[in-house]
Symmetry: C2
Subunit: 237 residues, 2 copies
């Protein structure tokens, strides 16, 4: 056995995303500044959680949840201009320039020489395609999988379709809950590359001591880590 395939998360692994959500959210809090900030934040998190089953992940659902929160907090009468501001903020997120994280370009160029790279991401279909195109990284990927949920079955399916199965694949991403744990469950290697800001929905405990798990401080360390794993893996044959 060897390692043939590397799956990579997109938002907050390859480019900034959560910071843009946070900026929009603080703009949203300003619009409702007559209300207690904590109360608004709590309510928004509730509304988002409630809608996740219907809206899934992404900017459009987030925009709808902000509007719903504004209506709820203000008994149906939000301040003049607030709804329009929220709509505009949502559109701006969808048109926001894509800024790749430090080391991403080099790491991916290196990895793509030896491994099949697969982008595995949640979020709005069109928006993720746009960001990939804008990142200039599109050509390095052998396949793009925009999925509605990242669970064990997702990784089994994706690594079977685009590689040689999870046992010979590595998944890398910033979310313990979505990128690391279910990928390990599927039998793949998994690397956690934390982003400074994490979305509350995506937090989970690290699987310390798992033989196929590592945490790396930067994607720059990923090629060497995978290389080492692959050598150890091949020697064990």
């Amino acid at each position: 056995m060897t390692i043939t395939t590397v799956g990579l998360d997109a938002d907050d692994t390859l480019w900034h995303n959560e910071t843009i959500f946070r900026l929009t959210q603080s703009r949203f809090l300003d619009l409702l500044s007559e209300h207690d900030t904590d109360a608004v934040q709590t309510r928004l998190a509730e509304v988002e959680r409630r809608n996740l089953r219907l809206y899934g992940y992404g900017v459009k659902g987030f925009t709808l949840s902000m509007i719903e929160t504004a209506m709820e907090m203000c008994d149906g009468e939000p301040p003049a201009g607030a709804i329009r501001e929220i709509l505009a903020a949502g559109r701006e997120m969808l048109a926001h320039p894509v800024e790749t994280l430090p080391g991403v370009d080099e790491a991916l160029a290196q990895l793509s020489e030896r491994y099949r790279l697969v982008l595995i991401t949640k979020g709005d279909l069109l928006d993720q395609e746009r960001k990939l195109a804008a990142s200039g990284l599109g050509d390095l990927f052998a396949a793009i999988e925009i999925v509605s949920e990242k669970d064990r079955q997702t990784y089994e399916r994706v690594f079977a379709r685009h590689g040689t199965g999870p046992a010979e694949a590595v998944m890398a991403g910033n979310s313990m809950k979505s990128d690391v744990l279910p990928a390990l469950d599927s039998g793949a290697f998994a690397v956690h590359i934390p982003y400074p800001v994490a979305w509350a929905h995506e937090l989970a405990e690290a699987p310390e001591g798992h033989p196929r798990y590592a945490a790396l401080a930067s994607i720059s360390f990923l090629p060497a880590w995978i290389e080492e794993r692959r050598r150890a893996f091949e020697e064990r044959r």
Copy 2:
């Protein structure tokens, strides 16, 4: 050569969709009944067109466009409850029961015995997955492709990935613009199965006289039509 693969559109080809959009839209017009109906409809169509590039296709973008239209028509002060009603209408669309069109179950069961079936659809990722699951048709498909745009390249890519290329594939759907013309361009066969109601954005002229085109009044006629094409195709070898 032979025919190996059949691509099928989803909304308004396999199950009702446009009627649900229309019902929501008439509910929306009722909310703004103080305004001229034609003016509201025209404005909504404009807003949708303007946002298509950012929102893509699907219910979430439609809901956001309805809210934006309401804000524009009412100078930022829509009637009490209108925004909440629009949000609720959007959520109801996303939870709406799926009703397959007459003949779909039988036609797909028949086709799946001989051909690789691929679902090729635009719209919100999660919503389309939900509808497919609710339709009970999921097991008949060898692959599901939820795409942001249906152009020639889309059909080339999808029929190469899941079949033996466009030349040996048939695409069937209710949209001349999205299902028929670009599929013909890619070199596939294409069958138009009109739905009684068509979205204005999806209208286009029929390619009369094209050797690989047909219009059928119902999906029930599709298996026999493909069978005939396949025989003629194989004899020509």
